[in-house]
Structures are given as C-alpha cells and as structure tokens.
C-alpha cells in the first residue's frame, strides 16, 4: 500500500503538465534522474531478446546457495566450494553451477521491504511493491508488450510448473498473463481436442450458429474490440495445430542432453524453456518449489540444490551451445533470502535484507560478483550504494533488452506508470 493514489484529478494534472510543455516523463521521474539517463552508455552489445526466469519459490537461503560463510556461526555446517572464478565461492550443494560461475553475474546485496511470500513474490516478479489499486505486469509481460513479434502460434509468455502466484499481465491485460504449463510431458495443458478433427469441425460449425444469433443487434466490432471471444478461439485453434508446439516436447533432445538436466520436473522444464526460447518465445518462467525452510533448513537445501544444480548449470551450458545465451537473460531468484540466524527448528526464516540473485547472458557481465554480506550476516542498509533494490534488477534487465524502462503507460485506472522505476546498474552489464 505504498502509493495507492489515482483518480481523475491525476489525469488532469498530467494533462496540464503536458500542455505546459514539461512532458509526461518529468512528473513521476525526478528531474536529476531524468537528466542522468542521458549519460548512460547504450548497451554495448545487441540487446537481449528474451528472458528465462528460474523461480525459486519459498525463498532460498543465500547461505546455502550463492553466498556461503563457511566457518562463521551463521553458516551452521555449510561448507564453501570454489567456482570457475577465482576468489568466488558457492555453498557445497552447487558444484555444477559453480563450474559455470564464469558465465554469471551474481548479486549478493539484494534488499527489499517485503517479507511475506505473496507480497515479496509480487515484488520480485514485477519490480513494484503490491498496490491495492492496480496490478503491475511481471517482467515477462513487459517484455512481450514492449518487444512485439511477428505472429507466433504459441504464447510468448509461458510459466512452466507455475507456483501459487504465476507471472501476470497485470494492467497490460490478461492476454499478457503467462500461459501456464502444469506438466513437462511435452503436452501443454488443454491443447488437445477431445474429439477427432471432423467432429471438432461439426462443433465449431454449431458454435458459429450460436454466435450469429448472439451477434444480431449488437456492434459489428463487439468481438474484435470487447469480448475477443471468437478472436481468441481462432488463436487457440491455431495453437492446437501449430508445429511450434513441438518446442514443449523435450523427447526430441538427445538422451544425453536430457540426462544432464537431471531426472526432475524442474530439469525437464529448464530444457523445455530453452527449446521454447529457441522457437521465439519471449519469456519462460520455470518454478522450483520447496525453498521455504523454516525447519531443517540444511537438509531441505541438500534436496533442493540437488534439483537446481544440474538443471541450472545445464541450462547455461546448453544456451551457450545453441548460441542463445547472448540474446537470453537468465534470472535465478526467489522472493527473498533466509535469516542468518538458525532458529530452534534448525530452520531459517524470511530475510529480505541481504539475499542473492544470479543472472546470466543477454549483456550481463560474465564472472562478476556485486555486493557482499557481512560475516555475521547483519542486515544490509538499503541506502548503502552497494545495495541493489528489486526495482534496480528490473530496470537493468529492461535496459539490457533495449526497453525504454522509464516510458510511462496509461493504466486502466487512468494513472500513468513507468515500466520500471529503479536504476540501471551499469556495473552489472558488459
């Protein structure tokens, strides 16, 4: 509930500013920031085109993944291992990802104000804090909206194994919601007709009869402008018969490749994500549940890391092999980290003030670490210049995608909203 203002009066003010020549940008964006943007160097490389979000639902412990403090009290018995970058260590559960560190940008100084799963998930997926007056779009929705494509048969925004709060289109509209795929058997949900093609044709002809009856006495553009009903049916039918559907099917990949991702749903989802990106999909979210380790944190992380490690490492390697890494931004993040203090149940609780996010590809630096947490795991100061806010990640990712992140869209409630309101962290980019 940070800034729930909106109303007709805001529009009036916006209109007034525009007519007086200040333009729409200046009114939400501090002028200094606005001027500062002119100084930013344009992304040196061709902008990234797509995003893979590995969603660690529940909030992984930074200490048992990317930010170990071996030997300190806060670590418990978690050991650290070397990575492919000298001087950078991971927790011992991620040996394969450690060998890919030279491809990663690792941020160890993430801070947010959200310590509740639902709110924090919203925050990390959208870059904004929850607001009762509108729903912000997730990063994938923004990418699809800002980087339109030649017509794709299959959805451009996909969530594989969606958790409780999958990526949403928010104020951009439900058509930007992630298309949810609940399995990794190669068949996305409900894309197979229940009847043979000839009978489906009968059904559609019958449907046409009912539609004609409904259209009588109504606007000719009712479907195209308002209900989108038949327009959507057409798209659904095209998808049902599209060759692009094969991108969901990972059995076409060599057995050895499939094995490398691990025999898990998450691993298969990661491989499917690569195929989908290769087919032209803009954003794929793959969820790995089970990080909410209020009890037995260390044991749970052994299980979780065993799933994440081969999948994440293979994802990076395979993207590189298929020459997709430079155009794809990979983000591995959860809604927050976990407390340095180990609780009475040998668990760790929610910790939004000093957690890690790993990024790779798409113009992000390779083998780079940003920020650090102290040996005692003390809260990071959000005002510290090394602290990275959730919005900064979104702004930086959008920048790397060539998106004008400061552009404001008029939301349905008549309140203009920037795509992202953080800072571009230049040091994270090549």
């Amino acid at each position: 509930m940070n800034n729930p203002c909106n109303s007709a009066s805001h529009i009036t003010r916006r209109t007034m500013l525009q007519t007086t020549g200040l333009g729409g940008l200046a009114w939400l964006t501090p002028v200094a920031h606005w001027l500062g943007r002119a100084q930013e160097k344009a992304s040196a490389h061709a902008p990234a085109k797509s995003v893979i979000m590995l969603w660690m639902a529940g909030g992984p412990s930074q200490l048992e993944t990317f930010d170990p403090h071996e030997g300190e009290k806060i670590a418990g018995d978690t050991r650290a291992i070397d990575t492919s970058v000298k001087g950078v260590q991971f927790a011992h559960g991620l040996p394969q990802v450690a060998k890919q560190m030279h491809e990663l940008t690792l941020v160890r100084s993430m801070v947010s104000k959200e310590g509740d799963h639902e709110r924090a998930t919203y925050n990390v997926k959208t870059g904004y804090r929850p607001d009762p007056t509108l729903v912000h779009p997730s990063i994938g929705a923004v990418v699809c909206h800002e980087l339109p494509d030649a017509e794709m048969d299959i959805p451009r925004h996909i969530s594989i194994l969606p958790g409780q709060w999958p990526a949403r289109g928010g104020y951009l509209g439900a058509q930007y919601d992630a298309f949810k795929v609940y399995n990794t058997n190669g068949r996305a949900g409900n894309i197979t007709a229940r009847v043979k093609p000839a009978r489906l044709d009968n059904r559609l002809e019958a449907l046409e009869q009912v539609e004609q009856s409904f259209a009588r006495g109504r606007r000719a553009d009712l479907d195209a402008k308002t209900t989108l009903h038949n327009a959507t049916i057409q798209k659904a039918l095209r998808m049902m018969s599209s060759k692009q559907l094969s991108a969901f099917d990972i059995t076409q990949a060599p057995t050895k490749t499939r094995a490398a991702f691990g025999d898990t749903n998450f691993g298969r989802g990661c491989l499917a994500a690569i195929q989908l990106i290769g087919a032209g999909v803009r954003c794929v979210e793959v969820t790995l549940n089970g990080w909410d380790t209020h009890a037995n944190n260390h044991e749970a992380h052994v299980t979780q890391n065993a799933i994440l490690d081969p999948a994440f490492a293979s994802l990076i390697r395979e993207l590189r092999t298929r020459k997709l890494l430079d155009q794809t931004i990979v983000i591995c993040a959860g809604e927050f980290g976990r407390t340095p203090k180990i609780n009475a149940a040998d668990g760790r609780d929610h910790w939004p003030t000093g957690f890690s996010i790993a990024l790779a590809g798409g113009g992000f630096r390779a083998g780079h670490v940003h920020g650090a947490t102290a040996a005692d795991g003390a809260k990071l100061d959000p005002l510290d210049k090394e602290s990275i806010h959730v919005a900064d990640i979104h702004t930086t990712v959008q920048h790397a995608l060539g998106i004008d992140y400061a552009k404001e869209l008029m939301t349905p409630i008549g309140r203009p909203m920037a795509l992202s309101d953080g800072r571009v962290i230049q040091t994270l980019l090549k």
Partner: protein, 554 residues
Amino acid sequence: MPSEKIAPPLWQRNLLFAGVCVAGAGAVIFNLLTSDTMSAPKHQASRYEKPSFRTTVDLVDEQFAADWEKAGLEPTPPADELTQIRRLSLGLTGTIPSLQEIRAVEAQPEGERIQWWLSHLFEDRRTSEYLAERFARAYVGVENGPFLIYRRRRFVSWLADEFEANRPYDKIVRSLITAEGLWTNNPEVNFVTVTVDQNEDKKGPNEVKLAARVTRAFLGVRIDCVQCHDDHLGDDWLQQDFHQLASFFGEADMAISGIRETGKPYEFKYRRQREPVKVPTIVPFQPELLPERGRPRHRLARWVTHKENRAFARATVNRVWALMFGRPLVEPVDEIPLEDTPENPYPPGLEILADDFIIYNFNLQRLIRIIAATRAFGLDSKMPDDRTPPTLEHDQHWAAFPLSRLRPEQVAGSIIQAASLTAIDADSHIIFQLNRSIQLGEFIKRYGDIGEDEFYIQGGTIPQRLLMMNGNLVHERIKNDLVANAASRILATAPNDAKVVEATYLAVLSRRPSAEEAAYFVRALSQKGLLSRKAKQADLYWALINSTEFSWNH
C-alpha cells in the same frame, strides 16, 4: 460450532452420500423436464406495487430517461424476463438458473416474475454465501492473510449469516469496525486481524490498513492516497486527515483473548518532523456526526454509518449496482466524490437510491429489489435490428445493459448448473456440492481469478478458450452419463428433438432457441451419420457452453 455446518461428521456424510445416490437414481426415472416441484418462496407480489416501492423506482427511471434524452440516445427495449432472471442469478448466486427453476418462474404471472425470483433467491443460501464472498473481497481482500489469527472462511460464513438474515447493513458494518475478541469465536474480528503484519516488529492490527479499508469499502473514499504526503493533485485531503482517521484504531490491540481495546494511542512521524507525534482521533469530513463519547472504534463506527453520512449509502449503492450490472455506477467502485459538481455530476439514480437505502434502514434486500425493478436493469443489451446496435455511448449512459465477462467461479458454477436439471444448492445434492468445490478450485485457477480487481472489464484469453474447448470440467459435464449429466437426461426424456433442443437451450443459455437455431440443431440431431445421438447431444452442449453468450453477462 459453525464449522460443523460446513463439514458434518464422516458418518453423516456417508449416510447422505448413500441417500443422494438412491435419490439420484429415482430422479432419472422421474421426468424433470416439466417439473415444478420446487418449494415456493414466501412472496407477496402486491408489495412491489405499493407507492413506497414504486416511487423510488419511478424516480430512478425518470432520471435515466432524462439523461438519455439529453444525450440523444434511444435506449434498447426491455430484455425478456429470462435474460433478467439469468442476470440476477449470476449477480447474486454466481450461477445460472436451473431448468427446474426456469419452469417454476415461468409458472408465475408475467410482470411479477422478477420480484418472485428475488424472493426465491433470498431464501437460497447460495445467495447469501455468494454475496458474502463478493463483499468480503472489498473488506479483507482475497489473500490468505496472516497465519493462524485470520480465518477467511469463518469470516465469509458469518457475513453470509448476516446477509441471509437481512440484518441492516449499517449494523453489519458497525460489527466489523468495532469487532473484539477471538477470530474463531467472533468471526467478524477477522476484519481486524487480517491487517496484522506478522513480519513487522509492531504487534497488533495495522491502523493504516484498517483506515484504508474502512474508507474505501464503506465510504467509497480513497483518502489513503495521502498516507505518505499531502494531496497536491486536486483533492483537498491532507496527510493528517488520513492518520487522524487511522488513529481511531490505535487502541485496538492484540492480546491472548484476541482483539481488545487496550493498546497505546496511535503515533506517526509526519514528513519533515523528527519525532513521531501522538495523533488525535479526528474524522476527515462532517465532524459534527461524530459522537463525543465512547471508545474510539465505536465512535468511528457511528460516524461511518450515520444516516447523514451519505458517503456510506452511496458507496453501498454503487457496490450493489456493480454486483448486479457487472459494472459500478461510479468508477472505480470505491472512489465516489463527496459532492457532485456541474462538471462532474453524480450519475442518474445514485442519490435517489442512496436516499431510499437510508430511509429504509439500510435494507440490502430492498435495495437489490429496487435496482432490479428499474428500467435500466431491465434493458436489453442489444437492439431488435442490426442497423442501430447499441454504441459505447449507450453503455456509458446505461441506455443498454452492459456486457461483462463472467468471473471464473460464475463460469464454473454455470457449467455445473447447466449439467444439472435441478438447482444445485447448499441444502441438497451434497454429492454435487463436494464435487463442485474440488473441480471449482482447479477450474478457477486455470481460468484465471482476477482477485480484487472486481469490476475491471476485459476480453477473454487463450487459456480460457482452451480450458472451455478441451478441458476436463466441460468434458465431464457434457459426456453421456445418465445419472450425472443433464445432456443425457434431456435426450432420454424429451418427447421429440425440438423439445431436446429447447430444454438444452434453457438449461445452458437460459433462453429458447431462435427459429434458425432450432431448425439447425433439430436437423443435426435427426441426421443419419456416423455419430450417435448421444454424441450429437454432447456436441450441442459443447457449442452452447463455448459461446460468447455463455461466458458473458448480457
């Protein structure tokens, strides 16, 4: 204990299960297609012809008529009664009427059916449950809320009891604002405990969230805009207006015995001030209506629901209107100006309906009946001929009934209802009810619940169409199954194909087929071919369920 109402002991459920199975088998033999065995509601038709009722309706109608004339709009003609019945069922119970109910309502004299239907709905537990869920979204949101100390289900169930008893709305709201005790014993307390943020250092309910909920949900005022700063954007609210309101909740605190009035006074650090200050309890407008004595929350509750605090009545009228039309009179639903101005006048009907609501002691059922009786509610959403279809301007001025996309639970409820000839309600058909909740949950997840964005109109999506065309719920409900599915029962019991098509249209779309539709589907059913009649009947069901008409309120 209330929970027993929801979940009877296992042996009872087993007994019911057996009973329902036996009854189900019997019902197959019994021809329901012409049945009117439904129990009649208590209904006095003459009540709704009295001046005390008609005067308000007429005044509302006059205001709309004047507005249409000024805008140069020809309103659509009245919709047929079954269409209006469908609107009421969707708005108040979240589902379409059953074939049995349609037969019963059609047995009533023409012209009296709408009010008779409301009498029927108000006696139906589904109505209070559904209304409670819709209101709860504004009161407590849709989130699961704080662990252990918040019981959303209990809260909604309590609210449903209140609505079922038609307790005056001002009393309901006062119970919410002043709630004390344990969230389990006093379900209304959940209105307060939902705001407890378990991750913050501060214990107890959150005054700021409560103040925002109270002003938005009960008064239709978005004063929470000035939570962080004064409003420089037109309204006159100051930051202190908001925090002085929040201060009424300052003493509400969390104790072992639940929510109690023991806390410290509310403190807040304003911008450009070094220290938090004690914030006095002051209301942002009409201070003369605030009682001088009493506990802070009791004083606030009296002020909010005061008969002269018209914002309260307007906000309620606007919300009820939105539930019935799919769109509020004033948008957004929780932001209504405190005063109207020549540039920004109140829409027709708002003040009349607010007056009536106040005079008749905040009677929600009366408000619903009045709105249902207005000409605007009864208008068709289409014109009789293609040349002059209703325009967007018609929609703006309520000169045509607005189209709105059904919510996921309305679609799911309608599919399940369309597959049953009798009304699926809370009292009977436990077997269906259980079935419904499991399948409903799955369906709603995939169809995409829009959460608290209640009245934000948008078009359909691809996953929705895939779910309807190829998904399990529709498939299960249209396939040949003589015990569970209406499609098969209609086919087995109707005397001829014309009656099959008619009964199917009534069960799924709550209307009769047009001559062309009837001819098309009768021909399709009788044609010799590879497909069995059962398969063709499933295809007819499929076509109707996949239509725009089924997925939209119109």
